[in-house]
Symmetry: none
Subunit: 322 residues, 2 copies
C-alpha cells in the first residue's frame, strides 16, 4: 500500500475511470476516491464513456463531483478502479495511452496487474472497501480526516453493491468494520439502500407473481419457471427486465438446477439456467448452441415454451444422472 | 445493565421464553443466552409452546440446546426475550405465575416493562444484539470468553432476521460492530444466510405467487397484499411462515407504507405494517390495539380481510396526510 499511497500523494493530476457498464462499486469507488483526492488539492477528472445507471445517479450529485467531467491537459496518471482487464476500461483510447502512468486498484481474482502501480486485493469484498482503507491510511499519515459523509456514502454504495448488502460470502470482518465506521461518520444509509434494492416497479412485482404461478418442480432437484409474451403485455413490462426472477426457482430447498423459459417472441424462447452447488449448466446450454459459466448459462430455442421445456428438461435430467 | 447482570450472575435456575410465533430473533436470542448461561453453570430450561419454524431448527441442533426442553422444579426466574407484552409470552400460565421473578430483555418500542428487572433498549436492532453486548460485559467482568461460535451463530441469526440482513434502518453502528466481531470469532455465515433467505420451500414460493396476485396500490404510496386461509390450505403452508412477504409490497418505488393482511382464521386478521422512510406505523397499529416499531408494527383485527383493509387503509391515509 505504501507505493500506492506515495503515488497518490506525490501526483498532481489524476484521471479516474472504471469498467464498462459501471455498477455501484465502480461509480462508488470513483466518486469516493475523486472527492478524497480533491480534498488533497489534486486536479481530478472522471473519464467514463458509459452512462451512469439511473439508480446510481445520486452519487454524481454532489456539486464537487458533477464538475469533474471534462477534459484533461498536461501530465496525468490514470487510475483504473474495479477493472480486471485493460481492454474493459471505459474511457477513450487516447486517455489510456496519454497517461504518464496507470494506477490499478481492484479486487477481481482475474486482474492481470496491467498497471504501473498495482494494488489488487483479491480478498476485499469490493474496490470501494479497498479505497476506504487506503483513505484511512492517508488520513492517518496526513493527520487529516479525509473521509466525510459524501465520500462515505459513495464507498458504502460500492460495498453493499458488491456484497449483495452483506448477503454474499465476500462480506468479511473488514466489510462490517468499514460499515460500522461509516455509519458513525453519519450517512443516509436508508436512502442508499432504497436506491439500490427497494425501488422495484409495481408492474415488475405483478410479473413476478405471474411467473411464480408457473413455478414447477420436476423431481425434487429441478425447478422451472416461465414468462410468456402474454404476461409482458398484461403488465406492460419489457421482456429484458426479468433479472433475478430465476433466483426464485434456484433458491428453493433441494433444487440444484433452475431453468427459466422466457418467450421473447413467438417460437423464440430464451432459456436461462442456474445451478446451486455442483451441476454444470454450461454443458447443458452448449447442447442448444448456448453457453456461459458452470453456475449460470443460457441458450435460445426456436420453438414453443412447452417444447423447449421438454427438450431442456430431458438434458437436465441426463446431466443430473451423471 | 448492572442490575440485570447481577440478577443473571446471582440466579441459579432460569426458564427462558419469548413471544408466540417465534422468529429468528426470538429463537436466536433464546439459544444464544441459554448456551451462555450454561457456560456460567446455571440450570436453564427453554419454555416455548409454539414450534420452532423449520428454517430455524438448525439453532436448536447443538446437543446442549436440545437438552433444554424439559420441566423445571424449584425456584426459577423467567427470562422473557424479545417480547413487548406479558400476554404474548409463549409459555404456560403456571410457568409465568410460578416464577420468583421476571427478567424482561427486549428492544420493542411498545415494551411496557412488565418484568421485575427490565432491560429494554429501544435503540437496539434486535434482542440478539442486546444479548450480545450483555454477554460481552459479563465476559469482561468474569474474565472469561463466553461467546463461542455456537452462541455467535445464534445471535447473528437474530441480528440478521430483525435487520433484514442489515437492510432496515435499525441496523446501526452497534449492529455492524457486532457482525464484525462475530465474523472474527468464526461462524458459518453463508450457511445461516442460506437457511434464512435462500432456502425457500416450494410451497412458500407458490404462496408468494398467490400473495403477489393480490398486490395492490392505493394512491402511489400505499401498497397492500393479502394472504387468505384458502391460500394456506391450497399450498399446505402454515400461516406463520409468511415472513418477508410484506417486503414485496414495501419495496415498490414511491411506496411509503405497506400493509399485509393475513387471515389466520375466520375473522381473525393479523395486520403487518411497514414504512420505508418517514411514516410511523407503530402509531397506526396502536389504533387497533397493536404496536411495534416506527418502521415495522402489527395488530390483529377480528373481522373479514375486506373490512380490516378498509379500516387500516383509512388510518394509513390519515397518517400520511399529517
Amino acid at each position: 500500500m505504501i507505493k500506492l499511497i506515495d503515488k497518490l500523494l506525490n501526483g498532481e493530476c489524476f484521471v479516474v475511470t472504471s469498467h464498462c457498464n459501471p455498477d455501484g462499486d465502480s461509480i462508488g469507488s470513483i466518486t469516493g476516491l475523486c472527492m478524497a483526492l480533491m480534498k488533497l488539492k489534486k486536479k481530478v477528472f472522471i473519464a467514463m464513456d458509459d452512462a451512469v445507471p439511473s439508480n446510481l445517479e445520486f452519487l454524481m450529485k454532489p456539486s464537487k463531483v458533477a464538475a469533474l467531467e471534462g477534459d484533461m491537459s498536461g501530465e496525468y496518471s490514470l487510475i483504473a478502479l474495479d477493472c480486471g482487464d485493460y481492454k474493459r476500461l471505459c474511457c477513450r483510447e487516447d486517455i489510456k495511452t496519454g497517461a504518464s502512468s496507470i494506477i490499478n486498484i481492484d479486487h477481481h481474482v482475474s486482474n492481470d496487474c496491467f498497471g504501473d502501480v498495482n494494488y489488487v486485493d483479491k480478498e476485499a469484498s469490493s474496490t470501494s472497501e479497498i479505497v476506504y482503507y487506503i483513505l484511512k491510511q492517508i488520513s492517518k499519515e496526513k493527520k487529516l480526516d479525509i473521509i466525510d459523509a459524501d465520500i462515505a456514502s459513495s464507498l458504502y454504495t460500492g460495498l453493499i453493491t458488491d456484497t449483495g448488502n452483506f448477503m454474499y460470502s465476500n462480506a468479511g470482518a473488514d466489510s462490517f468494520n468499514m460499515a460500522c465506521e461509516i455509519i458513525k461518520i453519519g450517512i443516509d444509509k436508508d436512502s442508499i439502500v432504497k436506491n439500490l434494492f427497494q425501488n422495484n416497479s409495481f408492474s415488475r412485482m405483478k410479473l413476478l407473481g405471474d411467473a411464480l404461478n408457473t413455478l414447477s418442480l420436476h423431481g425434487d432437484n429441478i425447478a422451472t419457471i416461465e414468462l410468456t409474451q402474454e404476461m409482458f403485455r398484461r403488465h406492460n413490462v419489457e421482456s429484458n427486465s426479468t433479472e433475478g426472477i430465476i433466483n426464485y426457482a434456484r433458491d428453493i430447498e433441494n433444487v440444484e438446477i433452475a431453468a427459466l423459459f422466457k418467450e421473447k417472441a413467438e417460437n423464440d424462447i430464451r432459456v436461462s439456467l442456474r445451478s446451486k452447488e455442483y451441476a454444470d449448466v454450461n454443458v447443458i446450454a452448449q447442447k442448444f448452441g448456448g453457453g456461459g459459466h458452470v453456475r449460470a448459462a443460457g441458450c435460445t430455442i426456436a420453438d414453443t415454451i412447452e417444447n423447449a421445456k421438454h427438450l431442456v428438461l430431458s438434458e437436465i435430467k441426463k446431466a443430473l444422472k451423471r
